[in-house]
Amino acid sequence: MPADLIRRAQLGDRVAFEELYRAHVGRVYALCLRLTADRALAEERTQDAFVRAWERLATFRGESTFSSWLYRLTVNEVLLGRRAERRREQRIVTSEDPAALERPREAAGGLALDLEGAVAALPPGAREVFVLHDVEGYRHEEIAQLTGIAVGTSKAQLFRARRLLREALNR
């Protein structure tokens, strides 16, 4: 990614920022879609991520690559949105149906039916850790930091996700 483009965007050049958007939207959307398993929500989170990136561009100092900085910021946006969503769900789910909190969403339309579909059907906590660890390559320590869960919980969710995926793919 040309440094000049990033510098221009940092100086408030929206045309330069649009170029950055065009270059990264596919990756950001893929990340949002896999983390949320919901096409409409993924579009919303993608927009949120780019708005947040624009607001925080001045804090990007090139210590990591721009793409790493942007994808980490995207993960944060999705997880923050998920926490807010979970709080809303907890307010409306009755005590007779606590399992609804972990009930997987319907697989997102447009995803391949094999691994992508199976990942989309995972319970949210297991899906997030699987996507971050096995698809995006984050370490458990980083996932713990990003999600606010313990390293041990991150591992447990990953192993659970892999078990559920193997069962789904072997059916």
Binding site: L11, G12, Y21, Y29, E55
Partner: protein
């Protein structure tokens, strides 16, 4: 189906995160357990498939049309927040200045309005020089004055930092230049007053 008690160990084995001793132990188990060997093969295959998923998926519609107006709106919101911060800083300076003013002989207080270049020069030079002077003379100020001074310098510094960040995004914005100038001038004047108060 793998041995249930081996789930964590086999996952860590595949991830390469086991200690050498645990790895040897798992390999000994694998030598005798076909089910766990099959599970390891599946876990490896799953990890490889996950890592080779497409890195990009294009959204079904162009999202820039929704992002662009939000960015423009956010720029306005930031500007309003900045203006409130500048007003707060100005009020803080007034409080400190009045406090310091009472410590000074009347003849030593001079207010000299300065233009952009003078303020900029003041800010570069005076911010360093006066801070240094104040650091050596601060013992002569009352502790409560020093505490108030530091608190309000922090407010002004935050306003200056926000102005600079906004200017970095929108360097041609005349209002932002005025806000930066006001904040810089406030800091210089506050430091100047405080240094004089300490020296008198």
């Amino acid at each position: 189906m793998m041995c249930p008690h081996m789930e964590a160990a086999l996952n860590e084995y595949v991830d390469g995160t086991l200690t050498a001793r645990d790895r040897v132990s798992v390999e000994a188990h694998l030598a005798d357990c076909a089910a766990c060997r099959a599970a390891v093969a599946e876990l490896r295959s799953l990890a490889a498939a996950a890592a080779s998923l497409p890195t990009t998926i294009e959204p079904g519609r162009d999202l820039w049309g929704a992002i662009e107006p939000r960015i423009a709106q956010r720029a306005t919101w930031n500007f309003q927040r900045l203006r409130r911060r500048a007003a707060l800083a100005a009020a803080a300076v007034l409080v400190v200045a009045l406090g310091v003013y009472r410590l000074l002989p009347t003849s030593t207080v001079h207010y000299r309005p300065a233009g952009w270049a003078a303020v900029e020069a003041d800010f570069d030079r005076a911010s360093d020089d006066l801070s240094r002077t104040l650091a050596t003379e601060r013992d002569r100020l009352r502790p409560e004055t020093v505490a108030l001074l530091e608190r309000n310098l922090a407010v002004i510094d935050a306003a200056i930092a926000e102005s600079r960040a906004a200017l970095a995004r929108d360097p041609g914005n005349a209002e932002l230049h005025r806000l930066f100038t006001a904040a810089a001038r406030q800091k210089v004047e506050l430091l100047r007053w405080a240094a004089r108060a300490a020296a008198s």
